[in-house]
């Protein structure tokens, strides 16, 4: 690191400005092309070749997950999760809408932060991806065969579901925590009563069976702000660790009032003990109302079940279930190294990176080396649990990921850099600037027992002059660094969608051969599925008209519909009869003011709700270019004034007469 750089951020430190001012950023990048061709070679995936890794990036305030190939940085797909997506009708159409159901109703948007890939024995198994909704606390399961959201569950008794949904090493549980303490259970109290009336919970959500997500138990904890978490692994398997801030319990101007204490805590939660307490009847069943939504790949419909109770455990009723490790200062991330021994805090206002030792922690617990207790929770002596402090980490260390060689990579927000250090001596061995203001970072497999240790991706909050400008709203972006050698090396900048809080990446070989290419039509159990053109048709139930429709290159059956009246609600149930890869059909009808389009995958059924307002004849058409005759893939629906008796009809092709067996000559 150059002395001018050091001077620069020392100056920043003295200024004490916790803003990502450009003046406090790294030196202007050297824009010479030296090494550029080598970097270009490293990230160039030739036409027709495939990427090494699938990277799953959270969309942050976009509410979605985006899938990128690495090392190319090419966008492969946006998976809609917690926000409606008019591009494919997710969250609008009848079938997927229920995935957005909650106790607050159907929510069109949320804020996704942390993708977490399912694990078996601490390594990626390629089954699922989980992600949290931060605003209205929920978790989602994404199926990695279809790259679709298949399950969501609401988390009651929580405010700000941020420290989530990191998976335990066999995907037993997703963990979650209350970032913004609230009255639990909710109650009408004065905000100034925060310290006495607000609480937090730490939640454990059963995740290892598709369609059966469940809040296993919640631990009721003192009302401070729990920021991020990670489950232990290896020797620390059975524990989960959560950072906290605002031990001051401030409720206004937190940026000042929650930054006073020199130490906040990392909470160490023994979930094996909680399991035993829950099994031993120590949990109390609290009334609650929360939604559990499941998408079926046979009926192609999501359904909602409201649950009415949740198991809550008070630490007083379960001795040894939680301890506090003092950690400097308002720590943000907490990360567990691949061996499971080290618990690394990201003390965002601290001047060091604190590293706790799991084995020392266990010894301290055994020796009862407690400094004090907070609402009955023992606080362990800092000196007894520390493994080391990394000096000179830069300003504002946030998150850590790990390689396969015993080193850690820490994102440092204010000084806008990645710092590499190793567990052998807790000394910084390399640092590299990021452009600009890195938040999370990600090493493929970097949170598992088996990191791939080839790249680190920085996810930056500010891009300013890195791309062609696009007005006031600029993209946030990723940067890919090579970490295979002694020195980190910047290879690529690439824009990301929404705000990329965190990402995880998986070896493409674990997914690429198990993709679902299309849904088997014969297995489609949707109640309004139409599997043959001759089974299409139209029916009326009061003011609701059901149209059973098929789509195949390149026509709809039926394509002429009459007998609909103003005041009716028409449900177009469109089944895509194709049985081949990459042949979706779209469907939209003029004036579909209550819905987006449908994008129907082969073998799937999707339903558009169409409520005509005026008499007339309205076209509907296929929106996804499907064949040379795509433009011809359309039809008309006639709308008559209310009460005018026009016969309900839809032109459905009669089954083709079987050709005579001997008719060939």
């Amino acid at each position: 690191m150059t002395s001018s750089r050091r001077t620069r951020w020392h100056a920043c430190a003295l200024a004490g400005l916790l803003v990502a001012a450009a003046a406090c950023g790294p030196a202007r990048p050297n824009t010479s092309m030296a090494g550029a061709s080598d970097a270009a070679n490293r990230v160039y995936v030739a036409p027709g070749a495939k990427d090494e890794f699938y990277a799953f990036m959270s969309g942050g305030f976009s509410g979605q997950v985006s899938v990128y190939g690495l090392p190319s940085g090419r966008l492969l797909k946006v998976i809609p999760v917690f926000a409606q997506n008019p591009e494919n009708g997710y969250g609008y159409n009848v079938e997927t809408k229920a995935l957005l159901n909650s106790s607050f109703g159907n929510i069109p948007w949320d804020d996704t932060h942390h993708p977490s890939l399912s694990q078996t024995d601490g390594a990626h198994d390629g089954r699922w991806l989980f992600i949290n909704a931060n605003n209205t606390p929920r978790f989602a399961r994404i199926d990695l065969a279809t790259f679709e959201t298949v399950e969501t569950i609401e988390v009651p008794n929580t405010g700000g579901n941020h420290g989530a949904p990191f998976v335990t090493e066999n995907s037993e549980y997703l963990i979650g925590a209350t970032r913004f303490s609230v009255p639990i259970p909710q109650a009408d109290v004065a905000i100034s009563d925060r310290a006495s009336k607000f609480k937090g919970t730490i939640s454990f959500v059963k995740a290892n069976e598709a369609g059966k997500m469940d809040i296993a138990f919640q631990l009721l904890v003192p009302g401070i702000d729990y920021d991020l978490g990670r489950p232990g692994k290896g020797p620390s398997h059975g524990w989960a660790f959560f950072t906290s801030y605002n031990t001051e319990q401030a409720f206004t101007k937190l940026e000042v009032n929650a930054s006073k204490n020199d130490y906040d805590y990392i909470a160490a939660v023994n979930w094996k003990a909680l399991e035993a307490c829950a099994a031993g009847g120590k949990a109390r069943s609290w009334p609650a109302r929360y939604a559990h939504n499941v998408m079926s790949h046979t009926t192609h419909q999501a359904t909602t079940e409201f649950k009415t109770a949740v198991n809550v455990i008070d630490p007083k009723d379960c001795a040894g279930s939680i301890y506090y490790l003092p950690t400097p200062k308002s720590p943000h991330g907490v990360d567990i190294d691949p061996t499971g021994e080290y618990i690394v805090g990201g003390g965002k206002l601290a001047t060091v990176i604190p590293v706790h030792s799991f084995s020392k922690m266990m010894k301290a617990i055994e020796e009862k080396a407690f400094e004090k207790d907070v609402e009955g929770i023992p606080v362990l002596a800092y000196a007894k649990v520390m493994a080391g402090e990394v000096q000179n980490p830069g300003l504002g260390p946030l998150h850590n990921e790990f390689d396969d060689k015993g080193c850690a990579y820490t994102s440092v927000f204010i000084s806008s850099e990645i710092v590499k250090w190793c567990f052998s001596d807790f000394k910084v061995v390399d640092r590299v600037p990021t452009y600009y203001s890195i938040g999370h970072l990600m090493v493929p497999g970097g949170d598992t027992k088996k990191p791939y240790g080839k790249y680190v991706v920085a996810m930056n909050k500010i891009t300013k002059d890195r791309y062609l400008g696009t007005g006031p709203e600029l993209t946030q972006a990723g940067q890919l660094y090579d970490i295979s050698g002694a020195k980190m090396k910047l290879l690529l900048d690439f824009p990301l969608i929404g705000e990329p809080h965190y990402a995880q990446a998986i070896d493409a070989n674990l997914l690429k051969d198990k993709e679902t290419k299309f849904f088997t039509l014969a297995d489609n159990a949707h109640p309004w599925a139409t599997k043959r053109e001759q089974d299409a048709g139209i029916s009326r139930q009061g003011k609701t008209v059901h149209v059973k429709m098929t789509a195949i290159r390149s026509h709809f059956a039926p394509d002429n519909i009459e007998g609909v009246q103003v005041g009716d609600t028409v449900l177009f149930h469109v089944t895509n009869l194709e049985q081949d890869w990459d042949v979706p059909h779209g469907f939209a009808a003029m004036g579909n003011w209550s819905d987006a389009e449908l994008l129907v995958m082969p073998g799937q059924t999707r339903t558009l709700t169409w409520i005509p307002k005026y008499p007339g004849v309205y076209p509907f058409y296929c929106t996804d270019f499907c064949s040379a005759l795509h433009q011809e893939m359309m039809g008309y629906v006639r709308v008559s004034p209310a009460g005018r008796a026009v016969a309900l009809q839809a032109n459905v092709p009669r089954p083709a007469a079987a050709p005579p067996a001997a008719g060939k000559r």
Partner: protein, 212 residues
């Protein structure tokens, strides 16, 4: 009486023909820029199947653009007959091998030859019919003078598709059975000739002695 090696060869021919019940006899593969993974159909002894479960449906779906009839295996009478014909042929070969009767070997060889020629001719006729008898009225793509008969054997470009037709494992077994049958007949003839020559030689010698 057939010599032993002829009888063994005939039995082997019968076993090879049994392979036609297990493996496809002929296959037609289609590839195009937008079908890098290819589409293929296998003609089996009693039906036609896609290489993957959906290939035949997808081929039919594509064929509707050019007005080609749907390929419906159930409507092809020859496919219902073929198992019996092949079984009878194999039975005949076994019978010839078991009894060692020369006449049965000849009958079998003749039937096999007729079956092979008729089968190929019939296959060609089907492909001609599918490729030429198009529903021109309703064809979406009409190219003047264009017909869509896939090759009997080899490769041919049909619009954006390259069609490749080859005997599959079952077909190769049938050809091999025919080869073995030919060999069996050849041995039967040469062995008979040799016997006759030997007999003649013996007769010559004994006759000479008698003369002497």
């Amino acid at each position: 009486m057939l010599p032993l090696r002829s009888r063994i060869l005939l039995a082997a021919a019968a076993i090879l023909m049994a392979g036609m019940f297990v493996f496809p006899i002929w296959s037609v593969a289609l590839s195009a820029p937008q079908y890098p993974e290819g589409l293929a159909m296998d003609i089996r002894i009693n039906t036609i199947t896609g290489r993957t479960p959906n290939d035949l449906g997808n081929i039919n779906n594509l064929n509707h653009y050019i007005g080609m009839k749907r390929i419906e295996p159930d409507t092809i009478r020859e496919l219902r007959l073929m198992p019996y014909v092949v079984a009878a042929l194999a039975g005949l070969a076994l019978l010839a091998a078991a009894t060692g009767r020369r006449s049965l070997a000849w009958v079998f060889a003749g039937c096999l030859a007729v079956f092979a020629v008729a089968g190929l001719a019939d296959f060609w006729w089907w492909t001609w019919d599918y490729g030429h008898n198009l529903d021109v009225e309703n064809a979406i793509i009409r190219v003047p003078g264009m017909s869509y008969q896939p090759p009997l054997i080899g490769t041919k470009q049909l619009l954006n598709f390259t069609a490749t037709s080859w005997p599959a494992a079952g077909g190769l077994f049938a050809f091999a059975a025919a080869g073995l049958t030919g060999l069996a007949i050849w041995f039967a003839r040469t062995d008979a000739l040799r016997q006759r020559h030997a007999a003649a030689a013996v007769a010559a010698v004994t006759g000479a002695e008698r003369v002497a």
